[in-house]
């Protein structure tokens, strides 16, 4: 089985985390999902430092980044990713509850690859995630339950 790059999910809200994982599971993506809970952790993971200093090298296939994060917010994380040569090639999808135009404009200015306002309806959300997967994750014929969230505590 080919080694797929993981999806990095950056999400502080546990409910959103669970629902996003459920949506990923239903969207038939074969990638592993690495989850981190704030902007600082996201950067530590990407730059292989802090508690991720021993992780195997390699970049995620795509970063699903929540806009509102404690400590370092989503826009800051995006700025850091896009201003480092090592990470700027990684596609970043801003996942947000916000329908504010200014957030969208700022994200695009910082070089976001996609911007998804999470729809209220769950089915719509699953569809959106699935569309993203087609774009940025490599599709396999996944066995059921192929998503292996690696919840770090």
């Amino acid at each position: 089985m080919a080694e797929l790059k993981p999806i990095l999910l950056v999400e502080d809200n546990p409910k959103d985390l669970e629902l996003t994982l459920a949506a990923l599971e239903r969207s038939q993506l074969a990638n592993d999902v690495v989850t981190v809970r704030d902007g600082e952790e996201a950067l530590d993971y990407l730059f292989i430092r802090g508690r991720f200093k021993d992780r195997p090298r390699g970049l995620p296939a795509v970063i699903l980044l929540d806009l509102k994060l404690p400590k370092v917010d989503g826009l800051e994380v995006l700025r850091a990713i896009k201003s480092e040569a090592a990470t700027q090639t990684v596609p970043v999808v801003m996942l947000t509850s916000s329908r504010e135009e200014q957030d969208l404009v700022r994200s695009y200015k910082l070089g976001v690859n996609a911007y998804v306002v999470k729809p209220v309806g769950f089915k719509d959300f699953v569809d959106a995630i699935q569309d993203l997967g087609v774009f940025w994750a490599v599709l396999n014929e996944p066995p059921p339950g192929a998503v292996r969230p690696q919840m770090k505590r």
Binding site: K15, S98, E100, P119, V120, F122
Partner: protein, 751 residues
């Protein structure tokens, strides 16, 4: 900013010489006395009047070079030589030379290095000396001081001077700011006609004469038909002799002629000087020649000085009283203004006070938006032209003139109404003026009657008071009564108050704008947090309920499943509501980005998006050829979607549903409408149709948040268009919207 409008005096040619006449150095004296010019250091006689020859001293020329004591005797000559420096002639004594029958008053004054000694003949029956005059003078002064006001003081003084001098007529004559004169008081017998109220042009008393009258308080011409007596040697051989202060100074032949034409053989005038300015004259006339001895003249000068003091005091009192009156008008106006939202309107509430404040007959309040006319004024177009002219001048808070046409020639056509203008500028940024008008003086006078009507018609000679009045009338054409300092001050103060009010209002507006900005910021923060925080819980409810329905379906009863459906539906609805609200607020906040949009394509695309809602139904859809418009694509798409989804929704119960899009081209706008044959609505609710959260149907019949048409209206109005609707229950509805044909401008400001 005083507008110095110069009077252009049309002096008749025969009088044009007046201004240049050497009245201080006539080179001659009147014949009722003798002049000796003495070296102040040596007491040697340098010059004499030619009539000295008739005097005991022998031939005039023989006197030149002799000592003063050889003429007056040592005692008197010593007294004369002891005269201190000073320009007023001093009375030395009355002398009766042995060689002559007559008695002479000896007067002397210094002029630099010379002494002018005048020997003035005494008249018969004149008061013998000062001590006769003093007690009389004392009671006169106390009466004069008791006068209650300026006209009364002038009338009293005229009577007293006549009592002292015995002249047939005594006038008190006052100058206006342009040096025209008016007779304000008179005391006379019936030998000479009345001149009360008569006006004289400035040219009657030329400038150099006025200057002389200011420094030398009294002039006497005992006999206007006198023959001037030349000086020996003549002026040509010497420096011209300055006779400014000499009692015997010879007068201008023109003046003598003027007197004769007035029917007066003798005249005297005493200056009234207020604040070092010639205020007027006490002018005395007699039908027959008349002498006035030195001490009587001196008493008259003294009365003139008392009158000057009285005039000053009364004019201060009058100014004070009138200022108090103006203050009360002002406070009334301010009270009216304070109570008005459009405060300038307040000025019109008390029209009498507005006009009284400056003693005007008309006023105008002029701004870009309005031109309010009060009282007697030129027409609106003329007033606007005047305010444009004011605007074109260098900026000034206050402008005034009593001869508008001299500065602004085109105003001559309404000079009768507005020769005088006093204007205050009440805004630095905009042309906003309050203008007062005053009529032409001639017009004012003609109400009072021509003072000349009763004057005798004596057509002798070239210059005559009768002509004076005609000349004066010519001069004061297009001239109003001048504005007083108090009136100008009152206007200036009013302006400052108005500007104060304007500033305060501006501050209030600024404060409101600040508050508005603050609340806008709060609103933004609110909608941002709604956007983030309110959507999330709805999403979670829907998400978890979905998971429950999918993953735990087996453990749920039918009722449980129905409960979950309801939870999902309600949360979904709440989320949609929040989304629609946010859209609505964004419609107000987001900037428009204009582009050319083909409405045909937009409606076709919009219709395709309705497919899922149409489902299995068949709806006949038709679109008339539509124009390409300038609009914000994202927003206009929302309009089209809203209108089409409404049409689809409200035809859901109609058997043969029809939706069509129509177009009417109006000169200035495109009119587009969407018509359906659905459930329609009752026109009595048409006002509610475009309101936020207004629903005309029950929830279970047609779902929706009631915000779609509110969005439509908001978007279209931001494009400068209009929205309206027609409907009939059971028959269908038509929703219209328009877009301007010119480039639409964003009609809403947004922070």
């Amino acid at each position: 900013m005083k507008d110095s409008v110069r009077t252009i005096t049309e002096t008749p040619p025969e009088l044009s010489g007046c201004d240049s006449e050497p009245i201080r150095t006539p080179g001659s004296i009147q014949g009722h006395g003798v002049l000796l010019v003495v070296d102040a250091a040596t007491a040697v006689i340098r010059r004499v009047s030619a009539n000295a020859v008739e005097h005991p001293s022998g031939g005039a020329d023989r006197l030149i070079g002799s000592s003063l004591s050889s003429v007056l005797g040592k005692v008197l000559a010593d007294k004369v030589m002891a005269v201190p420096p000073g320009e007023s002639p001093m009375f030395i004594e009355t002398t009766r030379p042995r060689s002559s029958n007559g008695a002479y008053h000896v007067l002397a004054h210094r002029m630099g290095s010379i002494l002018l000694v005048e020997l003035e003949e005494t008249g018969s029956g004149e008061p013998a000396a000062f001590d006769v005059i003093y007690p009389v003078l004392q009671s006169l002064v106390s009466k004069l001081l008791a006068a209650k006001n300026m006209p009364e003081a002038c009338a009293v003084a005229a009577g007293q001077v006549r009592e002292l001098t015995g002249f047939d007529r005594v006038l008190v004559y006052q100058f206006d700011p342009d040096w025209n004169g008016i007779v304000v008081a008179e005391d006379r017998n019936d030998r000479l006609p009345s001149y009360l109220g008569q006006r004289f042009p400035a040219s009657d008393i030329p400038a150099q004469a006025r200057d002389l009258y200011r420094v030398n308080p009294v002039r006497l011409i005992p006999d206007a038909s006198y023959t001037p007596v030349p000086l020996r040697p003549a002026d040509s051989a010497h420096e011209p002799l300055d006779l400014s202060y000499a009692s015997l100074r010879s007068v201008s032949p023109l003046h003598a002629e003027y007197m004769r034409n007035m029917g007066t053989a003798a005249s005297m005038s005493v200056s009234i000087v207020v604040a070092e300015k010639l205020w007027g004259l006490i002018a005395c006339h007699n039908a027959q020649p008349r002498r006035v001895p030195f001490h009587v003249r001196t008493a008259c000068v003294f009365l003139g000085q008392v009158l000057s003091q009285q005039v000053a005091a009364h004019s201060h009192a009058e100014q004070y009283t009138s200022r108090m009156a103006l203050k009360s008008y002002q406070s009334r106006l301010l009270a009216e203004m304070a109570g008005e939202s459009e405060f300038l309107r307040g000025l019109t509430a008390d029209k009498a006070s507005l006009l009284n404040l400056t003693g005007s007959t008309g006023a105008a309040i002029v701004s870009a938006q309005q031109c309010i006319l009060i009282g007697q004024t030129p027409g609106e177009a003329k007033v606007r032209a005047l305010s444009d002219w004011l605007e074109s001048r260098p900026p000034a808070e206050v402008f005034w003139t009593h001869q508008l046409s001299a500065a602004f020639p085109e105003s001559a056509e309404y000079a009768d109404l507005a020769s005088g203008v006093l204007a205050i500028s009440v805004s630095k940024l905009h042309a906003r003026y309050l203008i007062w008008f005053r009529p032409e003086l001639i017009r004012t006078l003609s109400w009072a009657g021509d003072p000349n009507k009763n004057a005798p018609d004596i057509h002798t000679g070239r210059i005559h008071p009768r002509h004076s009045f005609d000349v004066w009338k010519q001069i004061v054409r297009n001239t109003s009564e001048p504005w007083t300092d108090a009136q100008i001050e009152a206007a200036t103060e009013l302006r400052n108050h108005i500007v104060g009010i304007v500033l305060r209002k501006a501050e209030e507006v600024a404060e409101l704008a600040g508050e508005l900005e603050q609340s806008n910021k709060e609103l933004e923060a609110f909608s941002y947090s709604v956007s983030h925080d309110l959507r999330a819980p709805f999403r979670h409810i829907v998400g978890y309920a979905e998971l429950l329905r999918q993953d735990e379906a087996n453990g749920l009863s039918a009722t449980g499943k129905r409960y979950i459906e309801t939870i999902i539906e309600s949360a979904q609805y709440a989320g949609t509501l929040v989304d629609n609200l946010l859209t609505f607020s964004q419609m107000g906040r987001a900037a428009l980005s204009m582009s050319a949009i083909d409405l045909n394509l937009l409606f076709q695309e919009g219709w395709r998006e309705q497919r899922s809602d149409i489902g299995e139904r068949h709806i006949a859809f038709a679109v008339a050829p539509l124009p390409t418009v300038q609009a914000d694509l994202m927003m206009l798409r929302l309009v089209v979607q809203n209108l089409l989804s409404n049409a689809v929704k409200y035809t859901s119960t109609t058997p043969q549903a029809k939706v069509d899009v129509g177009y009417v081209s109006e000169p200035s706008e495109h009119v587009i409408f969407v018509r359906d044959n659905g459930v329609g609505f009752d026109m009595k609710y048409v006002g509610k149709l475009f309101g936020v959260f207004q629903r005309l149907h029950r929830m279970e019949e047609f779902e929706g948040t009631g915000i779609g048409l509110a969005n439509v209206r908001r978007i279209i109005s931001r494009h400068g268009g209009r929205t309206w609707a027609e409907g009939e229950p059971g028959k269908g509805a038509v929703i219209y919207f328009t877009l301007p044909k010119n480039e639409p401008q964003d009609k809403e400001t947004h922070g």
